[in-house]
């Protein structure tokens, strides 16, 4: 082999790059069954089926935003009942910190919505209309 030290250095660098997930976390990667950790929601059914909600809840909220703001539609009927078209509707059954936030942190998703919207995880004393 020619230029052996360089070649070995190259191979080592290659292996280090491949091992990135391990050293950026200092070997601290936790396997977690996230569905076991989420707080139990109130009520029986979500707005749609669970599977649908799990993958499409952001699309639902996005659609709600559009119909509420642009068309003034404030009620949304599904097979599970009639719901208020509002982000605060979710807090009727879901705990923000123990539900939405937990899963989002696990997934590293950061919805921008809370820059403006209220959620019960916030400490804002003036908000008292959510029961």
């Amino acid at each position: 082999m020619y230029h052996k030290p360089y070649v070995i250095l190259g191979i080592v660098v290659f292996l280090i790059i491949l091992a990135t997930p391990y050293w950026v976390t200092a070997g601290n990667i936790k396997y977690e069954d996230i569905h076991k950790e989420l707080a139990k929601p109130k009520g029986v059914n979500c707005i749609m089926g669970v599977k649908w909600m799990a993958s499409k809840h952001m699309e639902l909220l996005n659609e709600w935003r559009e119909i509420a703001v642009r068309k003034g539609v404030r009620k949304y009927k599904t097979e599970n009942g009639v719901f208020n078209v509002s982000l605060t509707e979710c807090w009727r059954c879901h705990n923000y910190d123990e539900y939405c936030k937990k899963c989002h942190e696990f997934m590293d998703v950061r919805p921008v919505c809370w820059d403006c919207h209220y959620n019960p995880g916030m400490k804002i004393p003036t908000v008292n209309y959510i029961k």
Binding site: I29, E32, K51, D108
Partner: protein
């Protein structure tokens, strides 16, 4: 049914085993081949008299020592410097060189987008996710923040760049004629991976919580529960399978240029031909200057250059020459 899903759990380990062994094998294979001649390409002024100006660009393009050769290599690897000097020769335009640096542009866009995409994928393989991964994703999504989920620039850029790079091989006649099936194959893999990934994020929504649990189970070597496997979306499985196939295919493919570029003699040799003697590693007696020898020795064999005389030449190629002569051509030595 559910047991068969464990194939998807085994797949990445097989793919990475092939990838790692294959890449190391090819690197060692390259490292074992000698470079008999000094062949740096130079595109700048090499050091001569003090009064001949030599800028830092000349030092990069015509490095005179190992340090500058290393800098040149960094420019090659991170900025694709030789591609930046890409031009295309047109006979029909009076032998003019046309600027084809758009190839450099799209190559840069494609590679760097892909790098950022790979870094962003770390969010599936780490728990908790390191800060820099979130920051990169945040910056990536700044432009498209109005969309839910935020439109990430790099995904779009990579797709556009891929379309150009593939379109180049499909629609330009010259490039099409030099494209091999393997050139298209790797582009096809990249296209499937990119399109399935983008579909998954923006159109066909997938339950990512199970995807992440699956990814964590791979990286922590903790076999996933049948529930996780059962909840994986078919589009994710396509995406994932193609990623594994591509990873296993890399050592056999032209993508090995990520390692090959470091072995490229035209890039990694300093241009010091006149100052330092380059010794052919095959040369059995390097002490004797080449010009003083009878012939050149390659791998133990002596190659002499001798002048052919007409009669020997005619004997060697008698059949063809006679056939040409039969067609009323005059065959005679040129004097």
């Amino acid at each position: 049914m559910s047991e068969i899903m464990y194939i998807f759990y085994i797949l990445p380990y097989v793919a990475f085993a092939i990838f790692i062994v294959g890449v190391i094998y090819r690197i060692i294979n390259w490292a074992n081949s000698a470079v008999p001649l000094k062949v740096p390409t130079t595109a700048g002024q090499q050091p001569t008299f003090n009064f001949i100006r030599r800028t830092w660009v000349d030092k990069i393009d015509s490095p005179s020592n190992k340090f500058w050769a290393f800098i040149r290599m960094l420019f090659e690897v991170f900025l694709f410097r030789s591609l930046f000097r890409n031009t295309k020769y047109y006979v029909e335009k009076g032998g003019k060189n046309a600027d084809t640096r758009w190839l450099w542009l799209f190559a840069m866009l494609f590679h760097y987008s892909l790098l950022i995409i790979v870094i962003r994928h770390l969010r599936f393989f780490t728990n908790p996710t390191p800060k820099f991964v979130s920051t990169i994703e945040y910056l990536d999504g700044l432009v498209g923040v109005a969309i839910v989920p935020p439109l990430l620039m790099t995904g779009v850029i990579a797709l556009v760049a891929l379309a150009f790079l593939w379109g180049r091989r499909i629609f330009l006649a010259k490039e099409r004629s030099i494209s091999l099936p393997s050139d298209h194959l790797i582009l096809f893999f990249m296209a499937v991976i990119l399109v399935s990934g983008l579909l998954m994020r923006y159109i066909v929504k997938v339950d990512l919580s199970y995807v992440k649990m699956f990814a964590l189970s791979i990286i922590t070597v903790h076999p996933p529960s049948p529930e996780v496997l059962a909840n994986l979306h078919w589009l994710f499985l396509i995406h994932f399978t193609f990623v594994c196939i591509t990873i296993a295919y890399l050592p056999f493919s032209k993508v090995m240029h990520f390692a090959g570029v470091w072995f490229s003699p035209t890039r990694n040799m300093p241009n010091d031909n006149r100052r330092k003697r380059h010794v052919n590693p095959w040369d059995p007696n390097p002490e004797v200057p080449i010009l003083a020898r009878v012939g050149i020795v390659v791998d133990g064999q002596v190659f002499k250059s001798k002048k052919l005389d007409w009669n020997t030449y005619y004997e060697m190629y008698k059949d063809q020459l006679d056939e040409i002569a039969e067609n009323n051509y005059t065959i005679k030595p040129e004097l």
